[in-house]
């Protein structure tokens, strides 16, 4: 005789058709080609990655598309000590905000290749891409960032992005 039932798993699921709009679509097409694309505000000059239709500060439409580097500066980070559903990453791991060179906005990326207690603000990192044949229309093509070994960036160079 089997044991009595003491628990059940009840999945809650919402199905969407996601339509990212013209600017994020261009960004995702760039990701498919292994490029990080942003757009520059003609008024303030800031480069937004990923881009929306216009600059949220100046209220003007973006004009120029720019490719930014896949290397950048870790401006801030969090050490994660509890795994959540479907993640299979060794604990503790670091979730970081990376300011890619040429961009004025940060992107949340997994940090690997360094012990969690050695990660620091200002650390220089570079993207580790999935194998090219796995690239799709997603930022997840960048599997994680890892340290480049360069000297840390000066705080002044990224302080407005922390």
């Amino acid at each position: 005789m089997s044991d009595p039932v003491t628990g059940i798993i009840t999945p809650i699921r919402l199905d969407y058709t996601y339509t990212p709009g013209t600017s994020p679509s261009a960004f995702l097409r760039g990701m498919k080609d292994g490029k990080i694309l942003g757009r520059r505000c003609p008024s303030c000059g800031k480069v937004y990655v990923p881009p929306r239709g216009g600059c949220p500060m100046c209220g003007v439409e973006f004009a120029e598309e720019v490719q930014v580097s896949d290397s950048g500066t870790l401006v801030t980070f969090a050490v994660v000590n509890v795994n959540f559903a479907n993640r299979v990453i060794d604990l503790p791991y670091v979730s970081g905000e990376v300011l890619f060179d040429g961009a004025d906005t940060t992107s949340m990326v997994l940090v690997q290749g360094i012990a969690a207690d050695e990660v620091r603000m200002g650390m220089r990192v570079t993207a580790h891409w999935l194998p090219r044949e796995e690239w799709d229309f997603t930022f997840a093509n960048i599997d994680y960032v890892e340290p480049t070994g360069e000297p840390d960036a000066d705080y002044a160079s990224y302080k407005e992005h922390v």
Partner: protein
């Protein structure tokens, strides 16, 4: 500017809640696994299905020995036609959501009823159609179906 043709893709958000079932719902689900529907007799001598853990009138915990088998046949007390089933619903073709009061029970359970829209009526006799494999979940009742 590069191509601005807008992309589109399926996207879902899902979270699997893990719920402990407690003594009564646990017994109910264990019963379903054994292809047996259970209710509980409460302080007013009513048989409630599925069995609650506490009495609705006195708020006292209901004892396991008050569990009683019901069904597997019953009567439709109310229903609503579902012409366009959604993903995750019990059936992938139009069906009725029905409240079924199983024989021996004083309350009705909500489940899918596999019947033609012209066939469904309040008061009709229905029976449990069990899933091919029972695992201890409400889906062990695949649906209800008209009694032959």
């Amino acid at each position: 500017m590069s191509s601005t043709e807008v992309l589109s893709a399926p996207h879902f958000m899902e979270f699997g809640y893990t719920r402990s079932t407690g003594p009564m719902v646990g017994a109910f689900l264990t019963g379903l696994r054994d292809r047996q529907v259970l209710g509980v007799r409460d302080s007013s001598n009513r048989v409630v299905v599925p069995p609650p853990e506490y009495d609705a009138t006195t708020a006292e915990a209901l004892p396991a020995d008050a569990l009683v088998p019901v069904g597997p046949e019953g009567v439709v007390t109310s229903w609503s036609w579902n012409p366009q089933p959604r993903l995750g619903q019990p059936m992938d073709r139009p069906f009725a959501w029905a409240l079924v009061r199983l024989d021996g029970a004083d309350t009705a359970v909500l489940h899918a009823l596999d019947a033609l829209p012209t066939q469904v009526r309040t008061g009709m006799r229905v029976q449990v159609r069990w899933a091919a494999e029972t695992v201890g979940a409400i889906t062990d009742i695949a649906c209800f179906e008209p009694c032959p």
